[in-house]
């Protein structure tokens, strides 16, 4: 099976999403981190609860897929999802993953207590968005073009007032949609440089191994097979845009025969439809791993 596994970041979480997670794994993670996971909407307002929760869900799904004999050929994480992606290729070990993600969440939580966040513009090209951003951005009121999730969908990251100005300009200039997102941190922008540096220090003792598959890197949109760019992605992707659209473009060149979308949520429908047409897809937020395994095996046998 030449499968592309995709791991979303924050946004699709919901209360009780950890219900199906292997109990031993959950206990292990809670003991490891000294953290009780609440799995409630209220708890998910907290960065640590949220990030560790999402990664626990993804790791549990990966382990179940492994147990069913399934492995990815290509992996793509989006933002937080990079940790699960590196784990799925055997590059990052489980305990290292959870310790790092907890640290990442703590660093992000403390970085910008108020007045900063993200937005999104749909219907303009990246170069058009960059021009608008350049008109607003200043050292005092920073705003940056951030994640590229589809060809005509560019995120903004920075100070909320500056984002509001770019959003207004985008509407005047023909954007189909432009709005602020409910994200309390200016992720994936140079404003996260300090957080990245501290995260890199926290990861200095972590040993990554050579991935057994192709890793699609957020910060460059490139397909990589070496440890160094994966480490860069895990520690520093917060200070760069996620070039998700480019990642999917490259993934297509590897001609995957199926896509597995890990939970939570299902945020990439648009770009996946553009890049892959009607390629077989599994959505693990809607289906159990055993159903997924049944379908993937059936498709591999060629009985459609």
């Amino acid at each position: 099976m030449n499968s592309l596994w995709i791991f979303p970041g924050q946004g699709g979480q919901s209360a009780s999403m950890l219900q199906g997670v292997d109990a031993d794994l959950r206990t292990h993670v809670e003991d490891l981190l000294g953290l009780k996971l609440q799995d409630t909407d209220e708890a998910y307002q907290d960065s640590v609860q949220l990030q560790v929760g999402i990664e626990l869900l993804q790791v549990a799904q990966i382990d179940a897929m492994f147990k069913a004999g399934l492995r990815p050929h290509l992996v793509a994480g989006h933002s937080l999802g990079v940790f699960a992606a590196a784990y799925a290729l055997g590059s990052l070990q489980k305990d290292d993953l959870f310790r790092t993600v907890k640290r990442r969440a703590e660093l992000m939580q403390g970085a910008y207590p108020s007045g900063y966040g993200m937005g999104v513009i749909v219907g303009l090209s990246r170069s058009e968005v960059e021009k608008l951003v350049a008109r607003v951005h200043s050292t005092a009121h920073p705003v940056y073009a951030s994640n590229q999730n589809a060809e005509d969908q560019t995120a903004l990251s920075g100070e909320l007032d500056a984002i509001a100005q770019v959003v207004a300009l985008a509407k005047q200039n023909g954007a189909a949609r432009a709005l602020r997102l409910k994200v309390p941190v200016p992720s994936h922008s140079p404003l996260m440089t300090e957080v990245s540096t501290q995260l890199a220090a926290a990861m200095s003792a972590v040993e990554l191994t050579k991935p057994n598959g192709i890793y699609l890197a957020n910060y460059s949109g490139r397909a990589v097979r070496q440890v160094a760019p994966i480490l860069e992605d895990l520690t520093a992707n917060l200070k760069y845009p996620v070039y998700f659209e480019a990642m999917m473009g490259v993934a297509r060149d590897y001609q995957p025969d199926s896509i597995v979308n890990f939970a939570p949520g299902q945020p990439f429908r648009k770009v996946l439809a553009q890049k892959f047409g009607d390629l077989h897809q599994i959505n693990l937020n809607q289906m159990s791993v055993s159903d997924a395994a049944f379908l993937l095996n059936k498709w591999e046998r060629g009985s459609y």
Partner: protein, 547 residues
């Protein structure tokens, strides 16, 4: 007196390399497990290496083996490849095994190619058409080593390449007669090959592959996916171009537009009484959608660039039409096919992703450097042509005593592509890609000056009849629908262009839009094609919806 010069340095170097690995060979036949050792022994750093791969057939065992060699031993290769198709074709650049690439087509790897050029991981010599690249193998890109694929090889080293002979001969010949080393992967070693496609004395080493070479059914189009706009456009093309110009010989590109035409000949063409009058002779791959036209007697001959998976038995049973050896399998040849396509055909009909306001077209779009296949050879007017045919002559300008005819080059596009973006644009993405990739030329697939007709769902623009660029632009605008280019069209100008026969709408050429329904296709689906073929066509699994 100076010392006598050694005129056989290449030959001696080759002999030394072959001697060093001779213990691994039985005659010319090696063992699968020694493949990596053999490549490490026979390829030197900096060598010019041809790795066989086009848009259909891939020397996939040798490309995987090359990607696994030790970059300490083999590095900085100059690769020469018709098509960059497989991920490992680019992995060798990331790992330093190769550094420079001369190629034609990169469609399946076009995003990575763009990125690696931007990163400096891949240095591009140049982007070529197929014919140019083959030609340079004999001039300034003479290979040190060629890696090719064969179906069957006998114990002497004679190669059978059968239906998929494609470009193997042109690659092997360039090395074999200039002391290059010819390494072949074989699907199977046999006592006797069905026929000799390449004689053993052109071959140095044969390695049995771990699995058959990769082969793509690239020219198979399921009739089920042909829509009614494409049928309308096909009807317009048959009336307004094939019939009007009395076209006798043609190449069709890969696409549903041309598949529609193939399936309309036995129905719509028959109704128009055109059978026996148009397109008896074809240079085209054995595309399954031609089966109904062949079976109903429209097609007299087909020469092919390559084979097509599943068509083998059908071809073998129709030797009057196809080029078939005494063994019963087709012989294809991409180099001769390209030559025929350029010099012997009345018409090329293709499609593209973008056409600019002047009529230049390209398949290169932002972030994707797809290169060219055969379309620029097919889709150009060979000014070296001297023989005349009625279609060629029909494009001759009447105001020039030394005037001559012109090849018909037809682009068929729907005004909006499958991605919902306009096909007609003010400026091609290729212009920007040229800057990003630092190319000498903008990667245009077919130039405006060579494009004689454009067909859209709106109508036909007869560009060859225009006598100024302004008029050419107006003709394009008239058929460009509601794209930004089309919205500039002026109703009075369009009326004038229609009156002068420079633009034709369906009603101008007697095409009834209401007739453009799927029921007009000679085959509705793959199963119908199998029936037409009397059970001889055997579609690949992915095209089977029944069992």
């Amino acid at each position: 007196m100076s010392e006598e010069r050694n005129w056989a340095t290449h030959r001696e170097a080759k002999a030394r390399k072959l001697a060093a690995i001779s213990s691994l060979l039985d005659g010319k036949i090696a063992q699968t497990k020694d493949a990596k050792t053999l490549l490490e022994g026979l390829i030197a750093p900096g060598d010019k290496v041809v790795l066989e791969g086009d848009n259909q057939k891939q020397a996939s065992f040798l490309s995987k083996t090359l990607a696994a060699v030790d970059p300490e031993k083999i590095n900085n290769l100059h690769m020469i490849m018709s098509s960059i198709s497989r991920p490992e074709h680019l992995d060798i650049f990331e790992d330093g095994i190769a550094s420079k690439m001369d190629f034609s087509f990169a469609g399946p790897q076009s995003t990575r190619v763009s990125q690696m050029i931007a990163d400096g991981t891949l240095k591009v010599g140049d982007i070529h058409t197929y014919l140019e690249l083959y030609a340079r193998l004999y001039v300034d890109l003479i290979p040190n080593v060629v890696l090719v694929a064969a179906d069957k090889v006998d114990h002497e080293g004679n190669l059978y390449t059968g239906n998929n002979t494609e470009e193997t001969p042109v690659i092997v010949e360039a090395a074999a007669f200039h002391d290059g080393i010819v390494i072949v992967q074989a699907n199977e070693i046999v006592d006797k090959v069905p026929r000799v496609d390449i004689p053993s004395d052109w071959v140095d080493v044969v390695i049995p592959a771990d699995e058959p070479y990769q082969l793509e059914p690239l020219f198979t189009r399921d009739p089920q996916n042909i829509n009614e706009l494409q049928i309308l456009m096909g009807m317009m093309a048959i009336r307004g171009i094939y019939e009007k110009h009395n076209v006798q010989s043609v190449n069709h590109g890969v696409g549903f537009n041309t598949a529609a035409i193939e399936l309309l000949l036995p129905t719509y063409g028959e109704q128009l009484g055109l059978k026996g009058k148009i397109v008896p002779n074809w240079e085209v791959n054995p595309t399954p959608t031609l089966i109904p036209a062949i079976e109903s007697g429209w097609v007299k001959s087909i020469h092919s660039f390559g084979g097509e998976v599943g068509m083998e038995k059908y071809i073998a049973a129709r030797p009057d039409v196809f080029f078939v050896g005494p063994d019963g399998s087709m012989r294809s040849n991409r180099a001769f096919g390209q030559m025929a396509g350029q010099y012997a055909l009345d018409m090329f009909v293709g499609s593209t992703l973008q056409i600019d306001q002047y009529g230049n077209s390209s398949t290169v779009t932002n972030g994707r450097l797809s290169g060219f296949g055969g379309a620029p050879n097919m889709g150009s007017n060979p000014t070296g042509r001297r023989h005349s045919t009625p279609a060629w002559q029909s494009l001759r300008p009447d105001n020039d005593p030394l005037g001559k005819g012109q090849k018909l080059v037809v682009q068929m596009v729907e005004t909006f592509g499958s991605n919902k973006r306009p096909v007609f644009v003010d400026s091609l993405d290729a212009v920007k890609v040229r800057e990003e990739a630092k190319l000498a030329n903008v990667p245009i697939m077919i130039y405006s000056e060579d494009t004689t007709h454009i067909v859209t769902e709106e109508g036909i623009a007869y560009l060859y009849k225009t006598d100024s660029m302004a008029e050419r632009q107006a003709a394009i605008e008239a058929i460009a629908g509601v794209t930004p280019v089309g919205l500039r069209s002026n109703p009075d100008t369009v009326k004038d262009l229609r009156a002068r026969g420079i633009v034709a709408f369906p009603e101008d050429i007697g095409v009834n839009r209401n007739q453009a329904t799927r029921s007009l296709l000679a085959a509705q689906n793959m199963e119908d094609l199998v029936k037409w073929s009397k059970g001889l066509y055997n579609p690949p699994a992915k095209f089977r919806s029944w069992s």
